[in-house]
């Protein structure tokens, strides 16, 4: 399916673009159709009830139905050209059942009551075939039905209602700024997502939700042909759980400093000008001397380190071994949680899991198995206190109910445990970024995310960045290049010595975090304020070929 859709998009001339994989799952449609109203809730309820009844009649002890309409839009440009405008829509129904103590799943894009009943029966047949080789029967945490409810985020401007021309104009204006200021190449894109999801289950929930995400980004490239070197600088934007208002600059959402960074609003034209200046500096920057440095990490960078080294190892399915064949397991084994004293990080480290923060990618009213969303602690004063669990895992860690973090990327994929927003809490004392930097003797200040890699149990990681500034005796001493840092997760978080206060707290995020087989993508935000880590190993990544 995925490959076929990829070929189809490629045939339409979009194959050469770097489009996140999830964008290729849908079918291109025209933009006007994308803002059509979906089908009426009462019709969805009728369809869902037909599927639930059929599943029960065929022997399912539990069933849920997800009727989903998934809209994506990508506007892609390079220099002065529009490379592609694609709208994709994917509409269909996924049905999950429990029969003979085993899960079964089937999906169809033929949305009629007869087809849904047949699909429900197919899901039961899958469950029955697999029950023969099933181990322990699935145990679902109890979940009361919510009746007929709905949820929408407080977006101000639906990105799908903004004319394509406005987006093209913005991107081409940004590109022009880069080219006028000496860039050799520039690519820029706006991605928009709208998930219109209807969930119904035999528990008695009928949940209608409308979810929006946006991700504007660019890459500026500068080439020094004489020395054969090229460098890039990506946008300091973040994917957000917002509408098009994210692209309307707001002075109060700007964080001034060595380069302007952005909170809940983004100024693409300003950032691309800064990026073009920075990429030229990067070309001529000093190559880093490998060794131990104190790192001061901006939220635009730190989100990815949090994601990989805190978010993933606290996923309970990884801890238990459900991801052993793909993403891997976790060093945070159950005994470390049971002991209640495992020092994951220094006492300053407080990490919260959350599915409710406004504007974040993870925010929804209810998850994809009908559980109302919430916030809970993962790391408290440096100690591991909890994991991320869904209904069929809750009993394993003694929970009465799910954390509400189950998600499927589309109607055609089965839902499973996915990462909520996982955020490092800001420092409680008043501390600015300058306060952090002025105490560092030998350090590197890193802004923006770059290369990233971590082992399958989340011990050993390596991260790059967008820009690297040397800190000497409390002062910024110019730009460095070829920087990457390597560390052990626990040593790294225990070396955390200073966190800026909440006025510096910002969200970063992953638009397409992959997990599962077949692989599914998930969108998740990670908040933090600028944070200092002491004595981290930095390597030089320059090579000659």
């Amino acid at each position: 399916m995925k490959r076929k859709d990829f070929l189809q998009m490629s045939a339409m001339g979009l194959g050469a673009l770097v489009i996140p994989r999830s964008f290729l799952l849908g079918n291109p449609i025209d933009p006007l159709q994308a803002i059509n109203e979906g089908i009426d809730v009462s019709v969805k309820k009728q369809l869902a009830d037909a599927a639930l009844s059929a599943a029960k009649a065929r022997g399912a002890t539990y069933a849920d139905v997800r009727i989903g309409r998934y809209l994506n839009q990508v506007v892609a440009t390079r220099e002065n050209k529009v490379q592609g405008v694609a709208n994709t829509e994917s509409f269909g129904v996924g049905i999950r059942v429990l029969a003979n103590g085993c899960w079964g799943f089937a999906a169809t894009n033929n949305v009629t009551t007869a087809s849904l009943a047949a699909t429900a029966e197919r899901a039961v047949a899958v469950a029955e075939a697999n029950a023969k080789i099933q181990g322990e029967p699935v145990r679902l945490a109890p979940q009361k039905g919510y009746g007929e409810v709905s949820w929408k985020p407080p977006i101000q401007k639906n990105a799908f209602e903004v004319p394509v021309k406005d987006k093209v104009d913005l991107l081409l204006s940004a590109n022009a700024i880069a080219m006028q200021n000496g860039a050799n190449f520039v690519n820029s894109n706006i991605f928009a997502v709208n998930e219109q999801k209807y969930f119904a289950s035999t528990d008695g929930s009928y949940i209608d939700q409308d979810i929006h995400r946006i991700f504007p980004t660019f890459t500026v490239t500068k080439i020094d042909q004489a020395n054969g070197k090229f460098d890039t600088r990506k946008a300091l934007s973040s994917p957000m759980g917002m509408g098009y208002e994210y692209l309307e600059p707001l002075a109060s959402a700007k964080v001034p400093g060595i380069v302007t960074r952005y909170g809940m609003r983004y100024d693409m034209l300003e950032d691309i000008k800064a990026a073009t200046a920075e990429v030229a500096q990067k070309n001529k920057a000093k190559s880093v001397e490998p060794g131990k440095y104190d790192l001061v990490l901006d939220p635009s960078h730190l989100w990815l380190t949090i994601h990989e080294s805190v978010g993933h190892p606290t996923e309970l399915d990884r801890v238990l071994g459900y991801e052993a064949n793909y993403a891997g397991t976790s060093f945070l084994t159950l005994d470390k949680w049971q002991g209640k004293n495992f020092a994951f990080g220094s006492k300053l480290v407080n990490v919260v899991a959350d599915k409710t923060q406004e504007g974040s990618l993870g925010a929804v009213g209810y998850d994809d198995e009908g559980v109302r969303c919430k916030t809970w602690d993962l790391i408290k004063d440096g100690v591991l206190v909890n994991y991320q669990a869904i209904r069929d895992q809750a009993h394993i860690i003694g929970l009465e109910e799910s954390h509400g973090c189950c998600y499927a990327q589309s109607w055609a994929d089965v839902q499973f445990q996915r990462m909520p927003n996982v955020s490092l809490q800001p420092g409680k004392e008043k501390r600015s970024v300058d306060d952090l930097i002025k105490n560092v003797e030998k350090g590197i200040y890193i802004i923006g995310d770059g290369s990233f890699s971590i082992d399958q149990q989340r011990y050993n990681f390596q991260f790059g960045g967008q820009t690297f500034y040397e800190i000497k005796n409390g002062k910024i001493a110019g730009m460095l290049r070829d920087v990457a840092y390597q560390a052990n997760t626990r040593e790294f978080w225990n070396s955390c010595t200073d966190i800026a206060d909440k006025s510096d707290y910002r969200l970063g995020g992953a638009f397409n975090d992959g997990k599962g087989q077949p692989s599914q993508s998930n969108a998740v935000s990670h908040g933090s304020a600028t944070t200092r880590f002491n004595g981290v190993n930095v390597i030089n990544t320059a090579r000659k070929i």
Binding site: M1, R3, K4, D5, Q8, A11, M12, G13, G15, N27, I29, D30, K81, V85, G104, F105, A106, A107, N109, A127, A129, N130, I133, Q134, G135, V164, N184, T221, I223, Q225, A226, G228, F230, T232, G321, Y322, E323, A324, N325, T329, A412, V414, F452, S453, I454, D455, Q456, Q457, Y459, N460, Q462, A484, Q486, N488, Q517, P518, I539, T541, R543, I545
Partner: protein, 438 residues
């Protein structure tokens, strides 16, 4: 039934095209069906069954194009999707790089479809997984695995009379076995177009042997080592290499294939003379599509011959700009090897490290294609021609371009994922730190 024959597909495409009023129009039709089982902790965790088909249209007026698709195929729906694409085309900005459509082409007949693979049902998948689970249970090991089979077709017709049809099947199986103490882990991952070649029992036994053999790993110092990469590890390192064979990126100065001072490295001895890389859509173990998404014929192509870069891939636009052959990119490549078995390669190694696979590989520097990642699921120390003991996993920072210059020996190639690669003995492979991960 979404796997249409060429006649059935052509009939739908012709009808759709008959409604077009655009200067140029391409209609594509693709469908797939398949299923999967995922298991972990020695039991099934999820399983599914999905089938889909959809029709896509790209219409152009002059240099303005628009695209739309639909998944209903009655006359009214076909008219609607053509009209939508035409409306979008009229709204679109001109694309200065627009290329007129190709006329009729001659394609090789695809050999990628095997009926037995397409015919796998939930019970057959469950049987195959049961064999794998038995190996784990008997060996007191814990299995997590994934089995997936897919069948698909793609067809294309354009207003200049170009028509293409391909169909394919694939089945892939991977399994991780871990010991109960969590101190040993083994893995296999194999794909075939013909399910008759899949033996989940034998493959799971290999993973079991790696799980037991990797328990109790010792730490050795990171540094430069001679490595023997099993085919899976070699393919992990090479999976991004062909992206660098894009002529435009090379000409623009932003690829490892760019030449200092301008131009590309086409014709240069970029790799060791033992390295030859080609693609061939008719390879029996790795059959592929016989036409590219924009309708260009795909035929056997030698990209690297004895270490010399022979071909780069060009879009039709860039080929016209550079007056070059418009060669479509390779999507499945074959790296030639020798005849040596992995066992013999180990026997001939005085001191080195055997790598089963790599994990979490990411690009660190596109300039040199420097990659970082880690070893996983079975890393062993070799001395005096024998595996001596399992070692802890390493992080590496290495470029496949440098690696393919440090080739000592290539063994017998085999399919792994979407490549055919030999086991490789490489000198001076750079490991930069240790990992506690198992």
């Amino acid at each position: 039934m979404p796997i249409l024959s060429t006649e059935e597909a052509q009939a739908i495409l012709k009808k759709a095209l008959s409604y077009s009023k655009a200067d140029e129009c391409t209609v594509t039709l693709g469908g797939s069906e398949g299923g999967n089982i995922r298991y972990a902790r020695n039991a099934v965790s999820t399983a599914g069954d999905v089938s889909q088909m959809s029709l896509g249209v790209t219409s152009s007026f002059g240099k303005k194009s628009g695209s739309a698709t639909i998944n209903e195929f009655d006359d009214a729906s076909l008219q609607k999707v053509i009209k939508r694409a035409e409306e979008l085309a009229s709204l679109a900005p001109e694309n200065p790089e627009y290329m007129p459509l190709l006329g009729p082409q001659t394609y090789l007949e695809s050999v990628a479809f095997k009926p037995a693979t397409a015919a796998m049902d939930p019970d057959k998948r469950a049987d195959a997984v049961a064999k794998s689970l038995n190996v784990a249970k008997e060996g007191k090991l814990e299995a997590a695995g994934f089995l997936e089979n897919t069948a698909g077709f793609n067809a294309m017709l354009n207003s200049k009379g170009l028509y293409g049809y391909n169909k394919n099947t694939d089945v892939s199986f991977s399994v991780t076995l871990r010991n109960q103490a969590g101190t040993g882990s083994g893995y296999v991952d194999k794909s075939y177009n013909d399910v008759a070649k899949l033996d989940t029992l034998a493959l799971t036994r290999i993973a079991a042997s790696k799980a037991n053999g990797s328990a109790g790993a010792k730490a050795i110092e990171p540094g430069k080592y001679t490595v023997i990469l099993e085919p899976l590890a070699a393919s992990d390192m090479l999976s991004n290499l062909m992206n660098g064979f894009d002529a435009r990126n090379a000409d623009e100065g932003r690829s490892f294939m760019s030449k200092k001072g301008g131009g590309t490295r086409l014709g240069e001895q970029l790799f060791d003379p033992k390295v030859t890389i080609y693609s061939d859509p008719l390879n029996a173990d790795l059959p592929g599509a016989t036409w590219s998404p924009d309708g260009r014929p795909v035929t056997k192509t030698v990209w690297v011959d004895k270490g010399v870069v022979k071909k780069l891939a060009y879009s039709r636009y860039w080929a016209q700009q550079k007056n070059a052959e418009a060669l479509p990119p390779a999507n499945r490549v074959i790296v030639e090897g020798g005849t040596a078995s992995l066992e013999n390669m180990i026997k001939n190694t005085e001191k080195g490290i055997l790598v089963t696979r790599f994990w979490y590989i990411r690009n660190v520097d596109p300039q040199t294609l420097l990659l970082t990642g880690l070893t996983r699921d079975g890393t062993f120390y070799i001395e005096n021609g024998k595996i001596q003991f399992p070692i802890k996993n390493f992080r590496f920072n290495e470029s496949p371009v440098i690696m393919l210059n440090n080739v000592e020996e290539l063994g017998k190639p085999e399919r792994t994922g979407n490549m055919i690669v030999p086991p490789m003995k490489i000198r001076d492979f750079t490991f930069t730190s240790l990992s506690d991960a198992v």
